[in-house]
């Protein structure tokens, strides 16, 4: 073979290799193109799924808003319309007692009082239910609450230290950022519970205090009352759940459920410790900021 033949052969080889390389590049390119097209299809699918989900959640939002509106007008109706006939029953039963009491024998009076007491109970139940349902739709208005002052107000409103033998041991309380009217409901419920369930003791001893635990402030209300059996702990914060009969202690069973709901809304926790006949301590925590 001459030089030119070797050159031609090597050029041919070079051309073939170049051709093969180009073909490979074209192959790779068409694979990339197919992959890109697949990726594009996948992205379009995801976008479609997303817009379906978005439409669904918008539908759900509208349904929820409507349900809330219905609940609002239901609560309003309960608040207004149910109370009026209750008031009439209580009022006119009392008038009967006042004006015709002397014509009734003892049994008659007793029966009338049963009627009146039950209607009053119903009124309290309605109020408690309403308060409970209102917490759901209320938004928190957080301000710096002076817990000492709050408890002092409750102390005077509940007229503690009045007749019965009550010892209130109120320690200095940490202040906290929270909704003040909701917090008042919480403290009022816990304190009146403490007084109620220690009411049968010679002396009601209630202690209220607070301490700091990492990023939470913990408050507690402790009483020396009848306590409860920890094996029923799960029922403690349920709505209408009670651990004592209404003969032993009056109440509607909404108080602690209300406390639980409010504290949860604040991002805190509620818990309790007790022993039968040895009192109970109720704790709640609030994030401190």
């Amino acid at each position: 073979m001459g030089n030119s033949e070797v050159e031609i052969e090597s050029q041919l080889k070079f051309l073939e290799e170049t051709q093969r390389a180009i073909l490979n590049i074209l192959d790779d390119y068409s694979i990339e193109k197919t992959q890109a097209a697949d990726t594009q299809k996948a992205v379009i699918n995801i976008l479609e799924d997303y817009s379906i989900e978005k439409a669904n959640s918008e539908k759900t939002n509208i349904a929820l808003a409507n349900a809330n509106k219905e609940l609002d007008s239901f609560s309003y109706s309960v608040s207004h319309d149910l109370r009026a006939p209750l008031r009439a029953i209580v009022g006119y039963s009392n008038i009967l007692l006042e004006d015709y009491g002397d014509k009734l024998d003892q049994e008659g009076m007793r029966i009338l009082n049963v009627i009146i007491n039950n209607v009053l109970k119903m009124g309290q139940l309605i109020d408690d239910l309403l308060a409970f349902s209102r917490i759901g739709k209320q938004s928190l208005i957080k301000v710096n609450v002076d817990m000492d002052a709050l408890v002092k107000t409750i102390d005077s409103e509940l007229n503690i230290q009045q007749e019965k033998k009550i010892e209130m041991n109120i320690k200095s309380l940490l202040s906290n950022k929270c909704d003040s009217s909701m917090m008042k409901q919480v403290m009022t419920n816990l304190i009146s519970n403490a007084l109620k369930y220690s009411g049968k003791k010679e002396m009601s001893i209630v202690e209220i205090g607070s301490y700091n635990d990492a990023n939470m402030n913990v408050y507690y209300v402790k009483d020396n009352g009848v306590g409860f059996d920890m094996k029923y702990y799960d029922k403690l914060f349920g709505v209408f759940q009670r651990l004592h009969s209404s003969n032993e202690f009056e109440g509607t069973g909404v108080g602690l459920a209300l406390v639980h709901r409010i504290i949860n809304k604040h991002g805190g926790k509620v818990w309790a410790e007790a022993k039968v006949d040895e009192g109970a301590t109720f704790f709640f925590s609030l994030p401190n900021n």
């Binding site: 309003y76 608040s79 207004h80 319309d81 209750l86 008031r87 009053l120 009124g123």
Partner: protein, 148 residues
Amino acid sequence: MKTIIHNVEILLVEDNADDAGLTIRALKKHNLANNLVHLSDGQQAIDFIFGQEQFSDREIEDQPKIIMLDLKMPKVDGLQVLKAIRSDERTKSIPVVIMTSSKEDKDIAECYKLGVNSYLVKPVAFDDFSKIVTELGFYWLLLNQPPR
């Protein structure tokens, strides 16, 4: 109780006859119901205050010392009555106390915005109810200085 239309001290506007009965009884007990008129809807209340329709014998200047106004009434409700009273120069100073079953914040806010003097929620318990009505009567009839 529409026998008197002049020199009325208390105008009670309440559509619920039973509630009205309880209110009037409580006031009577303390001799506060001597010059009380009870009307059972908002339109009659407006006619009474402005001396129109069946009350055209009344003078606008002859104003009650206090209007006890229920909110929820058919046709013309308490808010509308309040608006009507407060939007006329001649009547806007008449003391108005809302007495209602509603404890709803929006009702309370709306009434105060319209210039109500006081907002009371009717309690279910009779003793509390009587006490509130009696205190109301004493305060607005005997303690408070009326505008004229």
